[in-house]
Amino acid sequence: MTRTLVKGLDWIVRKFSHGRHALRKQTILKVGLVTVFLFLLVTALAQYSWFTPYDPIYYRDAPRLEGPSAQHLMGTDQLHRDVFSRVIAGGKASLLVAFGAVALSMSIGSVLGWVSGFTGGFFDRFLSLTMDAIYSFPSMILAMTLVAMFGAGIGPMIWAVGVVYIPTYFRVTRAEVLQVRQTTYVEAVRAVGAGNVRIILRHVAPNTVNAIMAVSSFNLADAILTVAALSFLGFGLPPPAPDWGFDIQNGQKFLQSGSWWLITFPGLMIIALSLGFGLVGEGISDLVNPKRKRKRI
């Protein structure tokens, strides 16, 4: 009992210190992680009304359409609401949909990729062709059609955006499986008598993790933009919920009269968050492929 405990602790310490060592020189990764974490924290807190300076939805006592001032840091909108409060609370849909969609596409896409690459034959060819068809089609247009099908709201958006990314994971894992399948150690494991499921889960899947990690961070960055775009086109959360994409669409109406603050600040938030995920992706790619870093691509 004590022995297991000590062993376990030792394992945790080693894992932890190893992780820290790996992170030591990864400035890009660290900046990205901190950005993403800050966004998660602020967005989560801003869902409670004590955190935002004014209520993002029901506060109606501010002057109408006024530029940034000391009271209202990012100005006010046409419904006398505080833009700053709406901006810090407006990331909820983006974050939920982005994480949900990437988790969904990762699990479906990877499993399909493993199985397809492993079994081969007609099934593999049919699936690859389907995935290529989806992959080569503009993802934005596909997501739009799917959202129209599933309906507005966070759940449907997760499905719509998730489906779009499935081919990415399918391709990455399938390519990796095809390579691993032919190695001697898989042959050896098979000779010992391991079944297909075991080979996939224990020997093939772990080999694809690195590639999946980097791809998923870039997907998160892209998903943030896709969600914002869908909301902007009117396929997102119904008003009056604060949401960056929707608020930008709303601000577009007052653009001609020069109310720049309505669209500027939500947009900057989208950029910062997407950039954060992008930097994490860069960092992970550097980590799993050190050659890449030296070349400073």
Binding site: A133, F137, T264
Partner: protein, 339 residues
Amino acid sequence: MGGIARYITQRLLLTIPMLLILLTLVFLILRVMPGDPVSAMLGGRNVSQELMDEYRHKMGVDRPIPVQYAEYLGGIIRGDFGKSFRTNKPVITEIFSRFPATLELAFFGLIFAVIFGFGSGLIAAIRADRPIDHVVRVFHIGSFAMPLFWLGLMLQVIFAVKLGWLPVASRLGGRIAFTFQSITGFYLLDAILGGDKAVIIDVAKHLVLPSITLGFAQAGLLGRMTRASMLEVLDQDYVTTARAKGLQERVVILYHALRNALIPIVTVFGLQFAILMGGAVLTETVFSWPGIASFLVRSIDARDWFAIQGSVVFIAIFISIINLIVDITYSFIDPRVRY
């Protein structure tokens, strides 16, 4: 040459199942989607169920899905994409009247992307690790995180509303829009053929902001790839040899390095076009550009089944053709590739 002909035939044959799969997917999605063209058109109004059913019957949307599917496929083989429920015109007419607008936008977006992306990547690679390199790289990474619609709106605020240099939206200015006669659908070409200087300037001015918006993300991607690819090539022995021979740096970069660096960049060009079409949805919406992408958005809203199917298939065919052209060009740039 026989090799290339065979390759093209093979690729075209492979495109057919791909298009079929995509078409079937869209067809099924639309049939499963809540709401149909009739409910989108008449829904909310005071219309009896009988009348709605009668309309459904007239449009043929009440028949079993397999029957509809077979009929639709049969139509496509004859080149008949059906009629738009919304405008009551053949879908193919609607698409062809709008597609030139999208193509014109995409073309200039791509030109902006190539000049800006290619140029910035090249400069960054030649001046690697100098200040200009860092500036360019920040721009490249930042461009991935840029929401296109937001960029378009900001450009409108700055250059149209505040400075007043360029028009806010649409393809033509007020008075010219009434007299302008389009022959090809490509307004800039029409304007140049027409020869009226004021019209040419007006059309060109309307193209600037949308093109920059659409091309921006592509510029970043292209720039990043150019830089990476150039750095890789500049490291090769033959570049060192070329320099050792005493060739001018300009010659080394343009003739020895760039040509080889181009190879991986051209590969992604086909894929870029798909992204470009996706970006067109947003750009066309922001700039009220009457292209195929904004047509698709409105068709989805109206549950205009045939229009959605037709546009999707058309876009897919177009992207396949572009991909094919890219792959063929590939063999000219890289002599090692033989089909």
